[in-house]
Symmetry: C2
Subunit: 365 residues, 2 copies
């Protein structure tokens, strides 16, 4: 399946070069910048049927046909089962697109409403979780180590704005990463090769250039979803202040992401020092994130680094950071200051942190 395009064009480089659109060449440049693999493996493209993911799939097809990327492409589509017949029609449409390009196709069913009912997630959160679980399953089944989504610069700006509205710090305001593990400790990479440069209008005009239709998801027009209102009401207003507001917000996110990486590094170093400092040699085997921490070392550290270190430590102890708020971290920090109100700080879910003999100890429920 994957070699058809390439073989047919090996003999005519000039014709091949002409075939690549401006957009596909920008994707290729970004592909290289992100150091993504140029060949020899399978890649899963998540395709909702919207302009962004359809454009991504077609550009990948261009680059495969021209021989720039020698990858096997599979298409994955999740029916969130939120829209009955409409969802099924989208799924069929994406399947036909995949067929026409000669790509494998996998359909997933989300049961998102059911999933939201079972958990405390809202529909948007449940849908996102369902998507990433589905993609992880498809990747595993087809032994792919790379999954692509069609997130654009517009998605990035929307994410940053939603997080600003929640009062997030630099990690949240950094928005999405262009490359990250699909989930924690996963050896599958999630890449968003449009994120750093493509505007949504670009993907739409690319689809039109290629004479390719795309689907309009009615979920994307439901103002009950905050993200939809950011897209349809907030961003248009922001553009009246600065026509390049989307780019400006994404640039801010880039700067904050770099800051956050430096501070995370400092936090990891602090954690190491706080863990090893004052320990009796020979008693503890090796440094582990749930080891006790020296109060003195933590106390002397700057607050933003200390808070990040404590988050890492708690994540290590509990397995995750679910429902951990600034107020819980402040509780732990108060232990350091030796302020009144008990020598332990409770964490959501029943685990707690205790101060004893000049060290912080993590207690799992």
């Amino acid at each position: 399946m994957s070699s058809t395009g390439k073989t047919g064009q090996d003999g005519d480089q000039a014709r091949v070069k002409r075939r690549e659109s401006r957009f596909a060449l920008r994707l290729l440049a970004q592909w290289r910048r992100l150091a993504l693999p140029a060949g020899g493996e399978r890649v899963i493209v998540a395709v909702s049927g919207g302009a962004d993911s359809v454009a991504l799939l077609l550009m990948m097809d261009e680059l495969r046909r021209s021989g720039q990327l020698a990858l096997e492409i599979s298409v994955a589509h999740l029916d969130h089962e939120l829209r009955g017949q409409g969802g099924l029609e989208d799924a069929l449409w994406v399947k036909r697109l995949a067929d026409s390009l000669g790509f494998d196709f996998t359909l997933g069913r989300g049961g998102v409403r059911e999933r939201a009912r079972r958990t405390t997630d809202n529909l948007e959160q449940a849908a996102r979780r369902a998507r990433y679980e589905f993609l992880a399953g498809v990747a595993k089944e087809s032994e792919a180590r790379l999954v692509l989504t069609g997130h654009t610069l517009d998605d990035q700006a929307e994410t940053v704005l939603l997080r600003l509205l929640r009062g997030s710090g630099s990690e949240g305001l950094s928005g999405m990463e262009a490359v990250r593990p699909l989930h924690e400790a996963s050896d599958v990479t999630l890449a968003r090769p449009l994120l750093a440069w493509a505007r949504r209008v670009d993907t739409e005009s690319y689809c039109r250039e290629r004479d390719m239709e795309f689907r309009r998801d009615s979920m994307n027009e439901d103002d009950g979803f905050a993200r939809v209102r950011v897209r349809r009401q907030l961003l248009p207003l922001l553009k009246t202040f600065n026509p390049r507001a989307v780019e400006a917000i994404a640039r801010a996110a880039d700067l904050l992401r770099e800051d956050a990486a430096v501070l995370k590094n400092s936090a990891e170093e602090l954690l190491k020092r706080a863990s090893s400092e004052g320990k009796t040699a020979g008693i503890n085997s090796g440094p582990s994130i749930t080891e006790s921490l020296s109060v003195d070392v933590l106390k002397d550290a700057p607050a933003p680094v200390r808070r990040r270190a404590l988050r890492l430590w708690i994540a290590g102890g509990r397995g995750d950071l679910r429902r951990l708020e600034l107020v819980h971290l402040s509780g732990v920090e108060k232990l350091l200051a030796g302020e009144r109100g008990g020598r332990r700080a409770e964490l959501p879910g029943g685990s707690f942190v205790e101060v004893r003999r000049g060290r912080l100890w993590f207690h799992v429920k």
Copy 2:
């Protein structure tokens, strides 16, 4: 003038305590948190006549009368001379308010339009510059070391949003500081004791509680000013997403301000190392910010710290950072990487940075 209130109430502490409003007590709590002086000196309160600054002045008066703060208060008002008769009426209104409270009053005249014409500043920038210059002058004349403005949490959120729309990093997105030198190297402190907690609606309802009118500046209703549109269009929309959007944005700013302080510290350390490393002992007298910097030391540093160090270095060399953009910093960073395109990087205004013998050298025009 200043002792009237205090003397009259020394004998009746219970009655005095009742006099302090909830708002004045919050101001007092913040005053202490910011470690501002409790007495024995003169403080200048900048009063435009709007609800925020009028509320600040009245709360300060409460705290002075109740004996919580033993400060001499002077009122300063700048007529921006943008609105002819309206500006004069505001000035007279503020003068009468100051008189009625028994405070000194100083009127300044801005000539803001003329000032904007002379410079490349827009009206908003020219007005801000005129205000701070005026306040510095008043402080000097009356030998005051503390100037107060009535900026609120709403002003903070507006500032953050305007900077996000420009694509600022964490320094810009940190918004305003509650306490800072009035201008660089000034020994006059500018404090904004309402910034961290007071909403604009609070100051308005406080004025109503005190049965005190306030002025509505027509500049604050002119949609030609970006800040006015942020206040009148953007913030109301953001509140439909989160009723506490202003607080959320201000919280994000607080977190980013703490991050920025840590990174600035790291940048200063880096600068020190880059300046001393590889220097022949005895040749250079003491470390100065315009000394040459070791390319190797800078090259090994994380980009966000390096960029901040270079900004500090350039600010030291040029005297300021006017018109310095990310693109100029990138130019200097390219010198470090030894990339092609010349061994110097031009800065706006004619100064430039040169790489020679493994070091960066700053050349003033």
